[in-house]
């Protein structure tokens, strides 16, 4: 199931990035952790409750401008779905009134 593009993902309680001074960077979760490399770290850093899925896609398409944009989008949606499966994300969707 792909997340909706106007939803804003943020890390669920108990899930957070390891401190920047500790390598390798990890997404730490209750009783487990995911190792993050370049793109996955870029994605998780943007799961802050402010970026929409669409904004994450656009920003990463700029960073990885040599890659095909459709490919980048597909990878991001896939990774967000994986995080969702891990119960690492919460999505907020504002109603229309708030968007004005």
């Amino acid at each position: 199931m792909n997340p909706e593009k106007h939803a804003r993902p943020r890390l669920a309680p108990g899930c957070r990035l390891s401190e920047p001074n500790r390598a390798p960077r990890m997404l730490q979760m209750p009783e487990r952790a995911l190792r993050l490399n370049g793109p996955s770290l870029e994605i998780v850093e943007r799961c802050d409750g402010r970026h929409t899925v669409q904004q994450i896609i656009s920003e990463l398409q700029k960073i990885y401008s040599k890659a095909e944009p459709e490919r980048v989008e597909k990878d991001i949606l896939g990774y967000l779905a994986l995080l969702q499966e891990q119960q690492a994300l919460e999505f907020t969707v504002e109603d229309a009134a708030e968007q004005k």
Binding site: P13, E19, Q28, P30, E31, Q87
Partner: protein, 368 residues
């Protein structure tokens, strides 16, 4: 053959042995340490930094009851500033909403709350005190303060027939993770084993129910369970291997490779008050003794599973067979498995409803 020394992944910090509960299954050692001998805030703070520097990613604050330490908020802050993921394993007593908020603000990442059952009287008999009401309160506070929550149910002969109720409660509780742990027979649980060891029917039914719950709740609530040791075909990979992933520090500062390691006669432990943690991990006698494979005897020595289960638990080998260097008697490949078979046969001779021959529980006391 030399054994390469791995990096520790997590530190289990037993802050105190004091505890307001008296659980008959408590895995703490029979010899409990008193408050006067506990490490100070300063020493714990240094040790947390040393653990992070040695490579640990996480600290589990446990005990005894970690909430019995008045400096817990300070220790959570120290762990976070050392760069650790902070987990607290707790009975939920003594706690009020204000203190929980302080712990969360100090950087507590995750809270694991243990239950003795959901029937007030039955749970109180196991805990030796009334605690259920407070635990239900803690679940509500944890939700209100958005702290990640695991519910831990220790399951055994006396409460396995109410497993459905625990699963249903956990599902609706708002917890992200449910842990069902069959009792492991160390400390007070070893002393109360006759009344805790389930029948084979109870075990088989529990595994089926938990597998179903795990599948049904996937993506919603994580359901995990600790297998019933004595009924397994192969032993558990105790601590992920001796001196391989985890280390435990006792309330007085001794560094142990396994919760129960102090039962092994003659094993010498180093103390964080006298040596840097990394040095203890790398070279203390207790860690070197059973690290890697050099110590193994047959059938482990030539068995393919030795890289997965490391020959089982050294403390259990000592408790059951009287020798910490033999294959864990839980393993069906060793002739010593007969010891476990006899224990199991006794547990299955009567049904769980029949009162046990040994009528009295041995309750874990609260040290001064």
């Amino acid at each position: 053959m030399t054994t390469t020394i791995p990096t520790p992944l997590a530190l289990i910090a037993e802050l105190t042995h004091r505890c307001p509960l008296h659980c008959v299954y408590c895995s703490n050692p029979l010899e409990l340490q008193s408050r006067g001998l506990e490490l100070s805030t300063e020493v714990w703070s240094r040790v947390l930094r040393e653990a992070a520097e040695a490579g640990a990613m996480q600290v589990d604050f446990t005990g005894g009851e970690p909430l019995a330490r008045p400096d817990l908020v300070e220790l959570v802050r120290a762990a976070r500033s050392a760069g650790l993921y902070v987990n607290m394993i707790t009975s939920g007593l003594p706690l009020d909403e204000r203190r929980l908020a302080d712990l969360v603000n100090a950087g507590l990442d995750h809270l694991q709350l243990s239950f003795q059952g959901l029937q007030e009287d039955a749970a109180s008999e196991i805990a030796g005190t009334r605690a259920l009401e407070q635990k239900l309160q803690v679940v509500r506070w944890a939700r209100a303060h958005r702290v990640a929550l695991t519910l831990n149910f220790v399951i055994h002969r006396q409460n396995l027939d109410r497993l459905e109720e625990m699963i249903a409660f956990g599902e609706e509780s708002g917890a992200g993770r449910l842990e069902f742990a069959h009792v492991q027979y160390y400390g007070w649980a070893f002393a109360n084993r006759e009344r805790l060891l389930p029948t084979r029917d109870q075990v088989e039914r529990s595994i089926l129910l938990l597998q179903q719950a795990e599948a049904r709740l996937r993506g919603k609530v994580r359901v995990e369970y600790v297998a019933p040791d004595y009924y397994a075909k192969y032993p558990k990979a105790c601590m992920g291997g001796w001196g391989h992933k985890l280390m435990l520090i006792t309330p007085t500062g001794d560094v142990l490779p396994c919760h129960a390691a102090q039962v092994i006669p003659g094993l010498r432990f180093d103390n964080v008050k006298n040596k840097p943690l990394r040095e203890i991990w790398d070279s203390s006698e207790a860690f070197q003794k059973f690290r890697g494979e050099d110590w193994m005897q047959e059938p482990c020595r030539s068995c393919d599973r030795r890289t997965q289960d490391f020959g089982g638990c050294r403390c259990q080998a000592f408790l059951l067979a009287g020798d910490p260097a033999v294959t864990d008697p839980v393993c069906t490949l060793t002739p010593r498995h007969l010891i476990v078979e006899e224990i199991i046969a006794a547990a299955n001779a009567a049904s769980p409803e029949v009162p046990a021959a040994k009528p009295d529980w041995l309750y874990r006391p609260n040290p001064a």
